[in-house]
């Protein structure tokens, strides 16, 4: 993991040399519109890149093509209705979106979900992380040109989605979390099936490790590309694997757990010192494995008991303000909920991970080559719904 320094330096030197040449031969720039309809943008992100030859002089992301105004819409919906909306923020890991909002509402109401609900919540939370990041592991390979791994990703993600569907009834948008607990208990036989799915996901990780991570071309394309120093990353608000790949040992699941039971099991927060695209891929790979371990351990010890705490039928949340954040698949997601003791939240500020993660791109894309735009964006891993909300 230390090879990169030399490569990094040579890449920087090459960029500097190019810059000198470009100064000497004044060439006319070209503006390239990548998106909003483009195969590499996971939806409708648009990047306006000013190019000098193949080199990016300035890049400006333009979003809003999918802005749905959830913060405004949440103000006219009752608390249980809001979960339907926020499911659609990060649509690949939907269940994880519900959790911090429900936790914030629970904190304001001063209720706590019973232990069984907390454990099942954590299991589903981690399953949605696996479902989300599995796709990233395949998709990252597509971004650098290998199209086969993504089929493996779709194939093996299905095992996890099946489990989520079996438990919640929804493959993509479970809408399963309730204030004070969960909608239903687990179906019979679910635990054994989930264990099997976890085994398949670990096999998938091994497969990807051989097929993608160990590939020299993949490493040549990602190592030393898009290096984010830790302090810069933090000041831009990067979270999740993006910041852990820069060597910042910070995981909300471990460091400030609230309402989820990650601290009941044995797992590890992975970091990588390099901060480049490869490191981000690597960290996510390890996190997927770690998540399967968390799920396995949690499955062993689900406590018995009710899955709903005593909450009134019509939920009125007492006045107050609460901010709860959790470590979602894409990074830290938080909800700042302001209540005035009504059926509706007075104001919901949604702190979504991708919005902050992508905000670093104008800084990061300066001076890279066009092919590296795609690798860097791919490795930052954003979901458009998570940017635009």
């Amino acid at each position: 993991m230390t090879v990169t320094e030399r490569q990094q330096l040579s890449y920087i030197a090459a960029q500097a040399a190019d810059a000198r040449v470009n100064l000497e031969i004044e060439t006319e720039g070209m503006t390239l519109n990548i998106g909003p309809q483009h195969p590499a943008t996971h939806g409708t992100l648009r990047i306006v890149a000013k190019l000098d030859g193949e080199q990016v002089v300035a890049a400006e992301p333009v979003m809003g093509y999918m802005h749905r105004g959830y913060e405004k819409l949440a103000e006219v919906r009752t608390y249980p209705q809001v979960t339907t909306l926020i499911n659609r923020i990060d649509w690949l890991g939907s269940f994880a979106n519900e959790v911090p909002f429900i936790l914030a509402a629970e904190r304001l109401m001063e209720v706590e979900a019973p232990p069984r609900a907390q454990w099942i919540r954590t299991i589903l939370f981690e399953l949605s992380r696996i479902a989300n990041i599995t796709l990233f592991l395949g998709d990252m390979a597509v971004q650098v040109g290998a199209i086969t791994p993504v089929f493996f990703a779709f194939r093996d993600r299905e095992h996890v989605l099946n489990q989520i569907e079996a438990a919640t009834g929804g493959r993509f948008h479970p809408n399963f979390d309730r204030i004070g607990g969960l909608k239903d208990d687990l179906p019979a036989g679910w635990i054994a099936e989930t264990r099997q799915a976890m085994r398949k996901i670990r096999n998938f990780c091994d497969e990807i490790e051989e097929l993608v991570e160990g590939n020299e071309i993949f490493q040549a394309r990602t190592r030393g590309i898009g290096v984010i120093p830790p302090d810069v990353g933090l000041s831009y608000g990067l979270t999740g694997a993006n910041i852990r790949a820069s060597g910042v040992d910070w995981d909300v699941r471990r460091d400030s757990p609230c309402g989820l039971v990650h601290n009941q099991v044995d797992w590890k927060v992975w970091t990588h010192p390099d901060g480049d695209s490869f490191a981000r891929f690597w960290v996510r790979m390890q996190e997927t494995r770690e998540a399967t371990k968390i799920v396995d351990q949690l499955l062993d010890g689900i406590p018995s008991g009710p899955i709903m705490a005593k909450v009134p039928v019509i939920i009125k949340v007492p006045a107050g303000e609460a901010y709860v954040e959790t470590e979602n698949p894409l990074g830290v997601m938080g909800y700042y909920v302001v209540s005035k003791g009504d059926l509706f939240p007075f104001r919901v500020k949604i702190r979504s991970a991708s919005f902050s993660n992508v905000s670093i791109t104008p800084w990061l894309l300066r001076g890279v080559y066009v092919p590296d735009i795609i690798t860097i964006l791919g490795s930052l891993y954003f979901i458009l719904g998570d940017i635009d909300r």
């Binding site: 809003g64 405004k72 910070w250 601290n263 006045a319 901010y323 905000s359 635009d388």
Partner: protein, 236 residues
């Protein structure tokens, strides 16, 4: 490098947390004291609750606060920046569905007086931001009042470059100007958009166009013209 959280550590941590419950506040109080020294009278109000710290500062000290938090206190992580419109919605629940109103008829009443939340507030608009210190796990939520006739505040972009997009969003959604921001442009909405959607007096057009079905889903099925089956099940 990475800390292993074993169950032992958790138990120890849980005990420590119980014992430390006031100790956390001591730390928070110390932080608030240092903030008070640094900002003087500009620190208007503060509040702590379950380890979370709220501070409210004068608008002019908004940028100083960020600089102090990052440089002196090590809050290197910029979490988010937004705003709150504390005015009660003039629309209330007038666009709720007739079904809900039949169940629980709203009494015509005066709009609630403007109430502000944690750490107080004097004006309609309030800035809201959160920064973290990832090494020690501390975090702080900052607020600042903005007078309604002069919605401007110093920008945080110099201190936290990540505030760029967040300030653009606050400008677009609430109409707050940020002095020193490199380019306040629309971020989500089209360039010619008028109005500030997250202000409470901005009507939610979707509700005007089509009434909300309410707690009970009574949307007509495409096949039924005048209710019939679709509304039958919805009768309370």
């Amino acid at each position: 490098m990475s800390r292993l959280s074993s169950t032992d550590a958790v138990e120890a941590g849980a005990e420590a947390a119980e014992a430390d419950a006031p100790a956390v506040d001591v730390e928070a109080e110390a932080l608030l004291a240092r903030l008070g020294d640094a900002l003087g009278d500009d620190l208007v109000e503060s509040h702590t609750d379950q380890g979370a710290v709220w501070v409210r500062v004068e608008r002019d000290a908004w940028a100083d606060l960020a600089g102090f938090l990052r440089d002196e206190e090590g809050f290197g992580f910029f979490n988010f920046l937004s705003a709150i419109d504390w005015m009660p919605s003039p629309f209330g629940r007038d666009m709720d569905s007739s079904v809900d109103n039949a169940l629980d008829p709203p009494e015509p009443k005066e709009p609630d007086p403007t109430e502000t939340g944690v750490a107080g507030g004097d004006t309609r608009f309030q800035l809201l931001a959160r920064v973290n210190d990832v090494t020690s796990g501390r975090s702080i939520i900052a607020k600042a009042d903005l007078p309604a006739d002069d919605l401007r505040a110093p920008s945080w972009v110099e201190v936290y470059p990540g505030a760029d997009w967040h300030e653009r969003e606050a400008w677009e959604m609430f109409g707050i100007d940020f002095d020193g921001h490199p380019g306040l442009r629309h971020i989500y909405l089209p360039g010619e958009f008028e109005g500030h959607p997250l202000r409470k007096d901005y009507p939610l057009l979707a509700r005007r166009v089509k009434p909300w079905p309410g707690l009970v889903d009574v949307e007509l099925m495409p096949t039924t013209d005048d209710g019939g089956d679709a509304t039958e099940g919805a009768e309370p």
